[in-house]
């Protein structure tokens, strides 16, 4: 059975919104969304990355981000571990190579474009959504700036313009959705990479390619595709020569899609809406009846005494 993304959210959302209107359509938690079939993604081979930051420069250009104080050619920014920020959507961090002392392993980081994004399920105005093509994008027109998406994201990706008083944006990598990927073009960072670290394509093809690479060179890669199953699957995939926890990857995120963590609670909502009025109404009638009986007794007893 093919289930559209919209339908999936509708089902999960029956609890939240539908219940307020009193429309409960179907049992929750039985239908499973396994991702858009033709979604695209990027496979990042960390064994090839040399930390040149060309991807950062390309990202900066296409998204018209402010020029950084330290130019992209300067490697000194790598000395500090960074996180995504309003000024840059992608960035490279380096980690000491556990195999070769004194060497570094570089990791390019950006939004992972989850198949079932925590941020989109957190958003109370649907400003964040998963496109059928794969990228997770943000809609400036409806965002209220609550920042729950940032709390929800297991990868600490969305950033916020804290110095903007009236129109702070939630910013993150869009996989160049508007400018490139929605027209079938390759994301800017992928194109700019001189080492061919990244491969753009349909996610299912990328998984095959990654498997093949690992099988062909078992000595070169650890046998794990990061993002294949993490948080239910992401469109951005990684393969690496060293275990992922050595490169700062969050490895405690599990394989369960994040929307499922709150689905149980939301599915309880309609039950409360039905059971509570009945129960409380019952208590009220019970109490009222008890009081009436007490009143009647009061009235009867003095009469008896008079007799």
């Amino acid at each position: 059975m093919k289930i559209s993304r919209r339908k999936f959210f509708k089902i999960a959302g029956v609890a939240g919104g539908g219940s307020i209107l009193g429309k409960v359509k179907s049992a929750l938690g039985v239908e499973q969304f396994t991702g858009w079939p033709d979604r695209v993604g990027v496979l990042t081979d960390l064994t090839r990355c040399v930390g040149c930051r060309s991807c950062e420069a390309a990202c900066n250009e296409i998204n018209k981000l402010p020029q950084p104080k330290i130019p992209f050619e300067d490697q000194s920014v790598l000395e500090k571990e960074r996180r995504a920020d309003a000024d840059y959507y992608t960035y490279v961090n380096r980690y000491p190579d556990p195999k070769n002392k004194g060497q570094w392993i570089f990791r390019k980081i950006q939004c992972n474009h989850c198949d079932e994004p925590a941020c989109a399920s957190a958003c109370l105005v649907k400003a964040l959504r998963k496109t059928p093509e794969g990228p997770v994008i943000w809609n400036e027109k409806v965002c209220i700036g609550c920042r729950y998406c940032m709390t929800a994201c297991p990868f600490y990706v969305p950033a916020y313009e804290y110095s903007n008083a009236f129109s702070p944006n939630v910013v993150k990598c869009t996989m160049c959705y508007d400018a490139r990927t929605s027209q079938g073009k390759v994301p800017a960072c992928v194109e700019a990479c001189p080492m061919e670290v990244m491969t753009f394509g349909k996610r299912r093809d990328l998984i095959q390619a990654a498997r093949k690479r690992i099988m062909d060179h078992p000595d070169r890669y650890v046998d794990h595709i990061y993002g294949e199953n993490e948080v239910g699957g992401t469109c951005w995939l990684y393969i690496s020569g060293v275990p992922f926890e050595k490169l700062g990857f969050p490895t405690d995120v599990g394989t369960k899609p994040y929307p499922e963590f709150t689905r149980g609670f939301l599915s309880m909502v309609p039950a409360v809406l039905v059971v509570w009025p009945a129960l409380l109404g019952g208590f009220y009638l019970f109490t009222k009846n008890r009081e009436r009986m007490a009143d009647e007794e009061e009235e009867i007893i003095p009469e008896e005494k008079e007799e």
Binding site: F9, A12, G13, A15, G16, G17, G18, I20, R83, A84, D85, A118, A120, S121, A122, C123, L124, V125, K126, A127, V142, C143, I144, G145, C146, R147, Y148, M150, T151, A152, P154, Y156, P158, Y160, E161, Y162, S163, N164, A165, F166, P168, V253, G254, F261, T262, F265, L266, V269, V272, L273, W276, P277, L280, F283, Y284, T287, R290, E291, R292, E299
Partner: protein, 420 residues
């Protein structure tokens, strides 16, 4: 002309009676010159510039909210601590109207008012914290993120704010002398109470459910599938404690607004509330233990976060539970009142742990307390207290309106006659 003057006089006397507490404008302004008001005024004068700064330089200028820790102390107090502390209304209204605890009837109005103002100011905190505050109604009118727990919170807080206003309407109409409207408002009391309990159950627990979406970020000792239940149950003892604390303060400083009968009964009622709070706290303690066993992270108890967890669990849950019980047994109203304040602090500790301290516990170098945020919080609380005081000084909150007490009495007689 004379008619016009007459109308103007009526209006003036209306203002004088209902707004200026029966004083002339000059006299009223002079009566404001009191130490408490001066201190409150100074606090607001210091704090307002920081709140204005939020609207000129952005949230980053006045809070330590960051990309890693997007919800800072300001929101943690305003929403996550403020809402459970405002649980007073649904607790008292359901106890009296649904469960027939008639003795507590005089406490309903102060409790509903406290709840209403608490929610109103939770919204005000949001208006400061949200990036685009004028879009606050979006989830209600145009853009429905129905898969979000926060969507549920938004809807329910909005609905509950309106419900509490309806619940408080009888007092407003008594103040305005609008008899017919008052009767309508009283007519919906039971319905509004039931609706209020439903909404409160769901959004109090939803505030906890928000963090279900952060399993890797929230420390395992605090992360639990039972988070919604924890938040709901703790809102009950929080609300009870706030009712005790609020009556403690107002029965001292706003004594003239109390009726002598209510004042005489207050110690007994306080003991009753303490008993309930003790029981709920103990239940909550049991739930937390079940949650701990369910999470199976016993080994983490022997870490710094574990010690802090135990401080919260034993120092701020079990201890106040026993203190309440002890106070009830020895009929010590003073101890009950002290414990109520202590429990409020304990609730705040819990909410701060979940939404700030134990969240993102794996990240290095975190700063929780930023003086500008503390000043803004104190400023808004001060305004909250002033608004509360303004209302209770004018509306019949602690005592029944003399006119309407008789009306009720007559209506009671009529219905009783009809029944016989």
């Amino acid at each position: 002309m004379t008619e016009y003057v007459g109308k103007a006089n009526v209006f003036q006397s209306w203002i004088k009676e209902r707004i200026l507490l029966g004083l002339s404008l000059k006299g009223y302004l002079r009566s404001l010159w009191k130490p408490f008001n001066i201190v409150a005024g100074i606090i607001i004068l210091i704090g307002l510039p920081f709140i204005i700064m939020r609207y000129t330089q952005g949230l980053g200028a006045v809070t330590h909210a960051s990309n890693d820790q997007p919800w800072s102390l300001f929101l943690n107090w305003g929403l996550f601590t403020g809402v459970p502390l405002a649980a007073t209304g649904y607790i008292m209204a359901s106890a009296v109207y649904l469960f027939g605890q008639k003795d507590y009837h005089p406490m309903v109005r102060p409790a509903v008012l406290t709840g209403f103002i608490g929610y109103l100011f939770a919204v005000i905190f949001l208006l400061v914290d949200l990036g685009r505050p004028w879009r606050l109604p979006y989830p209600m009118i145009s853009s429905f993120g129905t898969a979000s727990v926060l969507f549920l919170v938004a809807w329910h807080v909005a609905l509950y704010l309106s419900t509490q206003f309806v619940e408080f309407c009888p007092a407003v109409f008594e103040w305005l002398g609008a008899n017919r409207f008052r009767r309508w408002a009283i007519g919906v009391t039971v319905g509004a109470t039931i609706f209020g309990v439903i909404l409160s159950t769901l959004h109090q627990s939803a505030l906890g459910a928000l963090f279900l979406l952060a399993p890797g970020k929230l420390h395992p000792l605090w992360y639990s599938e039972f988070l919604p239940l924890f938040f709901f149950v703790s809102s009950i003892f929080a609300g009870l404690s706030v009712i005790i604390a609020e009556s403690t303060i107002t029965s001292r400083f706003l004594k003239h607004r109390y009726s002598s009968q209510y004042l005489a009964r207050l110690p007994g009622l306080t003991l009753g509330l303490g008993k309930a709070a003790s029981f709920v706290l103990f239940t909550y303690f049991g739930l937390k233990i079940v949650g701990l066993a369910h999470g199976y992270h016993w080994n983490l108890l022997n870490t710094p976060y574990g010690y802090w967890f135990l401080v919260e669990l034993f120092g701020f849950v079990l201890l106040p539970s026993f203190l309440f019980a002890f106070g009830v047994r020895n009929r010590s109203v003073g101890l009950i009142r002290f414990t109520a304040f202590f429990t409020i602090i304990g609730l705040a500790v819990n909410r701060f742990n979940v939404s700030l301290i134990a969240l993102n516990w794996q990240l290095p170098h975190r700063v929780f307390f930023y003086w500008k945020e503390v000043i803004m919080v104190i400023t808004i609380i001060t305004i909250e207290i002033l608004v509360y005081r303004w209302i209770v000084n004018r509306l019949p909150v602690y005592r029944e309106h003399p006119v309407y007490r008789e009306v009720d009495f007559e209506e009671d007689l009529l219905t009783k006659k009809a029944m016989v």
